[in-house]
Symmetry: C2
């Protein structure tokens, strides 16, 4: 239970309403520009896109984009950080209502897939456009992606303490393993123009994963 | 046993020596240019690189590069196809000497990691530079990558027939799952400037994987 609460409310954080009055109009406009950027990057590819294309898609002047974002790089990074912040907040909130590590991991995987499934532009940006440079990849891995992994690790470690998961496995490795499997399903769904809901892959993936890390056979 | 031989020699194919007289000087020069291209792309990123940078790195005139490759895109695609052809040939040859699906999959994973580990430039190109566009990703998935998946599927299906792996799992899904896990370890190794041999990750990954797909507990 203690681990569960740690999962939800890291020290010093408070629950922030998704669209509070404080964030207000500025956050709204900023998000509108990022949505437009995701659409443009998904359609034309990051390298072929210009900030002016993003402005046109967002229905604002070029100068307005620069009031919010320093550069095209900043737009791409901000899509990542904003969407990940949102995902991490949602995940911590939803996991708080569950205590079983199996249920928590399944919910986490479902949230991961659901967030890509509901926004194809964002999915293309996340699975492809964000992966194109060593520089970006290095920045991501020391950012919110570290928190994504941390959530999985905490659940795995709780499961190890309660005898559900094998204790000889490194939670760090297990987290990467799970991310790799989920990420490949997501990329495949994007590239194959998947005409199936990505979330249908949660159960088959978690079946293999749970049996892989579990101390006994798990029927999904 | 029949499945094993099918794995090694697909119909109509013959064993081709890695550097036969016939391939000779042209293949040698072509490979020299691709190695240089991998070095340049790994160092500067694909989008920031020019064909003239590749020519300089290879110690040839710009025109010489164009005798072998149509464009910068062609260089990137050719790095992929040449390295994958080599990998697939090596994998089929090595798997031929093994009959146990567990040993075959472990060897396959080892070959995958080893081929990245021995050439860091190539690893950066494979894990990052090749992933940057939907166009490339779509081309790859219908090319030698399909054969990579096919090798895993054949081994999985043999293992299912002999009662080693759970029959209710789709071999297609299992192949993607394994690739995802291996690929994430490889990307992580590249991004973290891994000062550990990537091949040390084979055993821990295959431990989780074998238990995930196996009908009984496997000790690695």
């Amino acid at each position: 239970m203690e681990t569960s609460s740690r999962l939800i409310e890291p020290e010093g954080s408070e629950e922030i309403p998704e669209k509070s009055e404080q964030r207000g109009a500025r956050a709204e406009k900023s998000w509108q520009i990022l949505r437009a950027a995701a659409k443009v990057f998904a359609r034309s590819g990051y390298f072929n896109s210009k900030v002016s294309d993003v402005a046109r898609e967002a229905g604002v002047a070029d100068g307005t984009v620069y009031l919010y974002f320093k550069s095209k790089d900043d737009l791409l990074m901000s899509i990542f950080t904003t969407a990940m912040d949102d995902f991490i907040r949602r995940a911590r909130a939803e996991l708080a209502s569950l205590s079983d590590p199996l249920q928590q991991l399944r919910r986490f995987a479902h949230l991961h897939f659901e967030s890509l499934e509901r926004d194809r532009d964002m999915a293309i940006v996340f699975q492809i456009e964000l992966r194109q440079s060593t520089k970006f990849m290095e920045q991501f891995s020391s950012s919110q992606l570290a928190e994504y992994f941390q959530i999985i690790r905490e659940i795995i470690e709780t499961g190890q303490q309660t005898g559900l998961f094998r204790t000889q496995l490194s939670s760090r490795l297990v987290a990467k393993f799970l991310f790799g499997a989920l990420d490949e399903m997501a990329t495949n769904w994007v590239i194959s123009h998947g005409n199936y809901p990505l979330t249908t892959m949660v159960d088959p993936v978690m079946d293999i994963f749970f049996n892989g890390v579990g101390t006994r056979h798990v029927t999904v």
